[in-house]
C-alpha cells in the first residue's frame, strides 16, 4: 500500500477579504514527483507555506508525514526539505558556514561528502560568501543544501525561476536522483511545463486558489484534448457534449477543448451533428495547461482579421 506523505483537507486561506486558497484537498502518495502548476498568483506559494506551517490557515488542515502542519516537531522537520522561492539564503555567510548552520538542523542524516561533491561539481569556492554569488550559483548552493540531508519529502517553490537551461537541468537531475532513493517524495512548483513533464509522474493544477486537477501526469495528458470538426454547411449553433471546456467556431469549423471525453463519444457527437470529419489533436502539456486554466469564452490577445 502506498502511503500518503502529504495531505491537505479543505485547506483555506484568506488575506483580509481576499481568498487566496479555497478548500484545497491535495494528496501526494509516497515515491512520486508531483509538479505543482498554476499561473502567477494562483496560490501555489500560499499553499506551500500553509503545508509547511509557515502560515496559519483560515480553515482546513494539512498533514506532512502524518503530522499536522501547524505542529511539526523538530523530529518531523528533519525529514522534510524546503527550498524557498528565489533561493533566499543568509547573504553574510560563506558556503562553508551555511553548510554548518544547515547541518545543525539535520544532525542525523546530513551527508557531508554528498554536499562537498556537489559544490565541487558546480565549481564553487567554499569560502565565498553567498552575497558574492550569482543567482545561478546561489541556486546551486540551495540545491546542494536541499539534497544533503536526504529528505523524505522535498518541497521546492519554483526552484528554477530565472535559471539558465543547464542549471535547471541540474535541479531536474537532483530530483530524479532523490526519487530513486527508497521512499522519497518531491513536490515542486514551476512555470516551465516542459520541466514538469520531464520529471513528474503526478501533476496538481491550481487556478485562482482552487485545485483543479490532482492526478497522474499521464491521466492529465490523456484527458485534455483539442478536437476540430469540419462541416460542409455551417456548424451547429449549440454545442453540448460532456467535458466541454472551450468552444471556438469559424465558418465551417468548430474547435472544442474537451476534458475526459472518450474518443467514441467524440465520434458519436460528430456523427449526430453532421460533421464531415473530425480530428483529435495531441496537445503538448503547455497548451493543455493554458487551455485548462483559461477563463470561459476567452479569446486570443491578438487576432488576425482579413480586411
Amino acid at each position: 500500500m502506498t502511503e500518503t506523505v502529504l495531505q491537505t483537507l479543505g485547506l483555506t486561506k484568506y488575506y483580509g477579504s481576499t481568498l487566496a486558497l479555497d478548500h484545497m484537498n491535495l494528496q501526494i502518495p509516497q515515491g512520486c514527483i508531483c509538479g505543482f502548476v498554476g499561473r502567477n498568483g494562483a496560490g501555489k506559494t500560499t499553499a506551500i507555506k500553509l503545508m509547511l506551517g509557515l502560515l496559519r490557515p483560515t480553515a482546513g488542515s494539512s498533514r506532512l508525514l502524518g503530522c499536522d502542519s501547524q505542529q511539526l516537531e523538530p523530529a518531523i522537520r528533519q525529514r522534510i526539505g524546503y527550498v524557498t522561492e528565489g533561493h533566499r539564503l543568509f547573504r553574510w555567510m560563506s558556503i562553508n558556514e551555511l553548510e554548518k548552520f544547515q547541518r545543525a538542523f539535520f544532525p542525523k542524516q546530513w551527508d557531508d561528502k554528498f554536499f562537498a561533491d556537489m559544490i565541487e561539481y558546480f565549481g564553487l569556492p567554499k569560502k565565498r560568501k553567498i552575497k558574492h554569488l550569482s543567482n545561478g550559483e546561489r541556486a546551486q548552493v540551495s540545491l546542494a543544501l536541499a539534497l544533503a540531508p536526504n529528505p523524505e519529502l522535498l518541497i521546492m517553490d519554483d526552484p528554477t525561476l530565472g535559471l539558465d537551461a543547464a542549471i535547471r537541468r541540474q535541479f531536474l537531475e537532483g530530483m530524479i536522483e532523490l526519487i530513486m532513493r527508497e521512499g522519497r517524495t518531491v513536490l515542486f512548483s514551476s512555470h516551465i511545463l516542459g520541466d514538469v513533464e520531464r520529471v513528474s509522474d503526478r501533476i496538481a493544477v491550481i487556478d485562482k486558489g482552487v485545485l483543479r486537477a490532482n492526478c497522474s501526469l499521464e491521466e492529465f495528458r490523456a484527458a485534455v484534448k483539442k478536437v476540430i470538426f469540419s462541416f460542409t454547411d455551417s456548424p451547429p449553433a449549440e454545442v453540448d457534449i460532456d467535458g466541454l471546456l472551450h468552444c471556438r467556431r469559424s465558418d465551417k469549423e468548430v474547435e472544442l477543448i474537451l476534458v475526459g471525453t472518450a474518443d467514441e463519444q467524440i465520434a458519436e457527437w460528430a456523427k449526430s451533428n453532421g460533421a464531415e470529419k473530425h480530428q483529435i489533436l495531441q496537445m503538448n502539456l503547455e497548451d493543455q495547461f493554458i487551455e485548462y486554466t483559461a477563463p470561459a469564452n476567452h479569446r486570443r490577445l491578438f487576432r488576425w482579421e482579413e480586411k
Binding site: C32, I33, R169, L172, E173, I176, E177, I179, M180, L193, G194, D195, E197, R198, V199, S200, D201, E218, R221, L281, Q282, M283, N284, L285, E286
Partner: protein, 135 residues
C-alpha cells in the same frame, strides 16, 4: 550498449511513447539484437533525466508489443523475432498506416512506381544494417 534516445519535452507526444518508439526503431534496425539487455529502468531514467515510472511505462508498452521480455530479477531483454506473434489487429493497423502514406504520396503527385522505389529505398536503411551486423 548505447541507446541514442532523444527526449523532446515540449512535444505533443507523451515521453513514454517517445522512449518506446525510439527503442522499437533501434530493434527494427537491429541496433538492438535479440537477447540484448535494455538498460535498467533507474539507469535509463537517470541518464535521460526523466521519471523512472515513465521508463517503466515505456518498457511495459514494449513488452505488450512483444518486442522485449522481462525476466524477474535479471532485467529486460529484446525478444526473439521468431517468437513474436502478429495478430490480425496488428496487421490491420499496419495496413491502415500504409494506406495513409499512399494517400499522402499520391496527393503529392507521385506515381505508384515512385512510391515503390521510395519504399524499397527506405527498407534498405533498416534491413541492410541487419545483414551487415550478422556477418
Amino acid at each position: 550498449m548505447a541507446l541514442w534516445i532523444q527526449i523532446s519535452s515540449g512535444s505533443g507526444q507523451p515521453i513514454y511513447t517517445q522512449v518506446a518508439e525510439q527503442i522499437s526503431e533501434a530493434i527494427a534496425k537491429s541496433e538492438l539484437a535479440s537477447g540484448d539487455k535494455l538498460p535498467a529502468v533507474r539507469k535509463l531514467a537517470a541518464e535521460l533525466v526523466i521519471n523512472p515510472n515513465t521508463v517503466a511505462r515505456a518498457y511495459t508498452r514494449l513488452e505488450q508489443a512483444g518486442l522485449v521480455i522481462t525476466k524477474t530479477g535479471s532485467g529486460t531483454f529484446v525478444s526473439d523475432p521468431k517468437l513474436r506473434k502478429s495478430d490480425a489487429a496488428d496487421i490491420n493497423v499496419l495496413t491502415e498506416r500504409m494506406d495513409n502514406l499512399i494517400t499522402r504520396g499520391l496527393n503529392l503527385g507521385l506515381e505508384g512506381q515512385d512510391l515503390i522505389t521510395m519504399f524499397k529505398d527506405r527498407l534498405t536503411k533498416f534491413v541492410k544494417k541487419q545483414m551487415g551486423k550478422k556477418k
